[in-house]
């Protein structure tokens, strides 16, 4: 027992010698329920840090990224947070809704800036959750945009499809329900499909019975593919609209023909938008860092953009880098340009959701095409 202690202390001691770096913690999911989007996202984060470090780091200091794969299990996230705190990270880039919301109390107490990949509306209130931020359009805003789209298309009956995690429920209860009511749409069905579900037959049959013309999906690629395939198998006429995590090439790959006609809401630029400055830049960067990977998912773009915002905020801090200073730096960002990878990012003291606009796309002939212009969300 004692020997183990000594070994641990030695290892920790060795860690202390790299003192000049700025440590940033990152929670990622490489093996859990959201790993299909988590892996490319993590790659985006890593590449962003690498790029920053190759270009002078943050005012001369290198950034040390401490990545922990918590497998989408909240207990692991809590343990990792403790470790990050002990290793004195200046900020944390988090991932999932459940664990981010679980950590908000601690994060506020510890004054630890926390940028999450969760776009839950609960995290957007700067007054209640002063240290939580996210670079994305909130799920509730995306849902509202989708519902408006449905109304414009003349739809009357909508349904929500989600899973039993904080992430799954965030867009719909209560924000989605309220938005539907406000727009005069009938919420005729709610179905639960697990993140890793391989069968959604019963849910699709029920959806068919309910007569929903449009259904909004909050899942990742895997469950979405199951839903679309089972919908097709059971002859459903419902059109599906997915929120951002459901929507990109991997879905087309695993859902195949069933993905035709699938709508998606996304504030991020997709990999084949070659006219986008940021995409062109990332293609170059990716070729340099990962020459063997030609195609990247939108999640890679997201990860990069999100980390870019955080690191830029840290860079703009004048004086000592503390949690509070980073918070103020983030809150002073107005129409920050992320090379076009996202709409311009704005944070204020009260509003910590950085992106307020998105586009709606459709999968036509196996390709992702936009069907609306940029929709501003408020």
């Amino acid at each position: 027992m004692r020997k183990i202690f000594l070994v641990i202390m030695m290892l920790l001691g060795l860690n202390l010698f790299a003192a000049e770096t700025i440590k940033v913690g990152a929670l990622v999911d490489l093996s859990g329920g959201t790993a299909d989007v988590g892996k490319p996202y993590a790659d985006g984060i890593k590449d962003c840090v690498k790029w920053f470090n190759e270009n002078g780091g943050i005012n001369g200091r290198q950034i040390e990224l401490l990545i922990v794969d918590y497998g989408y299990k909240i207990p692991n996230a809590l343990a990792a947070y403790k470790e990050f705190k002990m290793k004195k990270v200046v900020a944390i880039h988090g991932w999932g809704t459940g664990d981010t919301e679980a950590l908000t109390k601690f994060v506020a107490e510890d004054k630890m800036p926390y940028v999450s990949a969760s776009y839950s509306e609960h995290l957007a209130d700067g007054k209640k959750k002063p240290y939580n931020f996210f670079v994305g359009a909130s799920y509730s805003d995306q849902t509202e945009a989708a519902l408006k789209f449905v109304k414009d298309k003349g739809g009357k009956n909508v349904a929500f499809i989600y899973n039993n995690t904080g992430f799954g429920r965030s867009p719909f209860f209560p924000d989605g329900e309220n938005a539907a009511k406000k727009l005069g749409l009938n919420l005729v069905d709610k179905q639960v499909v697990d993140l890793k579900a391989l069968d959604a037959t019963a849910q699709m049959l029920n959806l068919k019975k309910s007569g929903a013309q449009y259904a909004i999906i909050q899942e990742t690629y895997m469950a979405t593919s199951t839903i679309l395939k089972d919908a097709k198998k059971n002859g459903l006429n419902t059109r599906f609209i997915g929120l951002n995590w459901t929507f990109d090439k991997p879905l087309i790959k695993i859902a195949g023909a069933a993905s035709e006609g699938f709508y998606g809401v996304s504030p991020f630029a997709f990999w084949d938008e070659d006219n986008n400055e940021g995409i062109r830049f990332l293609k170059q960067l990716n070729k340099k860092y990962n020459p063997s990977i030609q195609e990247r998912e939108v999640n890679y773009v997201q990860g990069f953009a999100s980390m870019y915002v955080l690191l830029s905020a840290i860079k703009n801090v004048k004086g000592k880098i503390t949690g509070e200073a980073i918070k103020y730096s983030l809150e002073s960002m107005k129409n920050f340009n992320t090379m076009g990878l996202t709409p311009p990012v704005t944070f204020t003291k009260d509003v910590h959701k950085g992106v307020r606009a998105a586009k709606i796309y459709e999968i036509k002939n196996g390709k992702i095409v936009p069907v609306t212009g940029v929709i501003t969300l408020d």
Binding site: I4, F5, V7, L11, L12, S31, K82, F106, G166, R169
Partner: protein, 350 residues
């Protein structure tokens, strides 16, 4: 002064059943405990965290060992019962402002009652069927945790306030260390004592040959239920402590993997041995952390390791369980006894 036992020479029943067989071992144990109280001043936050995890897990492991190791009833639902304790504590804290003095025992009693509810129908069954029933209990309780949102907060989880001890808020690892250490000492001593009494002997007889036990007049159903209740009580205490420690509990904390982990702990440590439970717990808590550090170092050279680490960790668990079962089925406690026996006679060889 005799340091060790040289043959059996007990002069009364009390002496035979005593926990400290010699004055020497008494001194050893007391100095060890004093050492434990002094230790935290030298440890950093991370090591304190590990110790706290060990303390909480020991309580739950000892509870499970009473049920499985001593009474022979395999439970696959221990994780869920710990969850009951945690959510009960959390709920009570949010509704009433009792101190932890009252909350922890109260939560444990609630867990005990839940244990009895699940135990009563299942204990008519034998061996395997009981294990399967506890497996069902695990899933049903998990389902309830997720759906009973008003009580448990559902998937969003439940925040828990820190316990307050005469004005000191116990909200960091250092303070929590003493808090949990005291509880651990109490619970482990209680367990050791239970085993020494009539109840403990009844348990063991049920495990070894329940038909003979019944013919001897041991009321099987009553004692089995008691064992279940006691083990659930322990799970409840561990759960309540856990709630106070992480201060945010979700149903994900209490899955079947947790139940399997505890089973591994007591098997690796040694069934039917309180000391074994402690060993097993230390082993299962420290090993993954150690593994993480080692992989962390190697992943500088082989970054792909970082990606597959959780899978490696799972594989490791499975492998360790299998290896222990194949090569050391009676666990670490047996190893410890062998080592002690060796030193007993040292420097003589026989």
């Amino acid at each position: 002064m005799n340091y060790i036992n040289c043959g059996n020479f007990k002069t009364s029943y009390e002496k035979d059943a005593a926990i400290y067989q010699t004055t020497f071992s008494k001194i050893c144990i007391y100095s060890f405990l004093i050492g434990l109280f002094v230790l935290p001043f030298f440890l950093n936050s991370y090591l304190l965290y590990i110790m706290n995890m060990i303390f909480i897990s020991v309580i739950a492991a000892v509870g499970l060992n009473i049920l499985t190791g001593f009474t022979g009833l395999i439970s696959l639902g221990h994780g869920a019962f710990i969850g009951v304790g945690a959510f009960a504590a959390g709920y009570l804290i949010s509704k009433f402002s009792f101190g932890f003095f009252i909350i922890i025992p109260l939560a444990a009693i609630i867990t005990s009652m839940v244990g009895v509810i699940f135990g009563t129908p299942s204990l008519r069954l034998k061996d395997l069927y009981l294990s399967i029933a506890t497996l069902a209990a695990q899933f049903i309780l998990e389902f309830i945790f997720i759906r009973a949102e008003r009580i448990t907060g559902g998937v969003n989880g439940m925040p828990v306030d820190a316990p307050v001890f005469f004005g000191y808020t116990i909200d960091n690892d250092f303070r929590f260390y003493f808090f949990s250490l005291i509880y651990t000492i109490i619970m482990v001593t209680a367990a050791k004592n239970i085993i020494r009494t009539k109840i403990g002997r009844a348990f063991v007889s049920i495990r070894d040959n329940y038909i003979a036990a019944e013919t001897m007049g041991v009321d099987l159903f009553r004692y089995k239920l008691l064992s279940f209740a006691i083990s659930s009580f322990y799970a409840g205490v561990a759960g309540a402590l856990w709630a106070y420690y992480v201060r945010f509990i979700t149903p994900e904390h209490f899955t079947i993997n947790v139940s399997i982990q505890y089973l591994s702990m007591i098997i690796i440590g040694g069934l039917g041995s309180i000391l074994g439970s402690i060993f097993g717990t230390i082993f299962m808590v420290v090993l993954p952390e150690l593994l993480r550090h080692i992989i962390g170092i190697f992943s500088h050279y082989l970054p792909v390791l970082e990606q597959i680490f959780p899978a490696i960790r799972e594989a490791f668990y499975g492998l360790v369980i299998i290896l222990f079962l194949l090569f050391e089925p009676e666990g670490l406690a047996r190893r410890w006894n062998l080592i002690k026996a060796y030193w007993k006679l040292w420097p003589f060889s026989y």
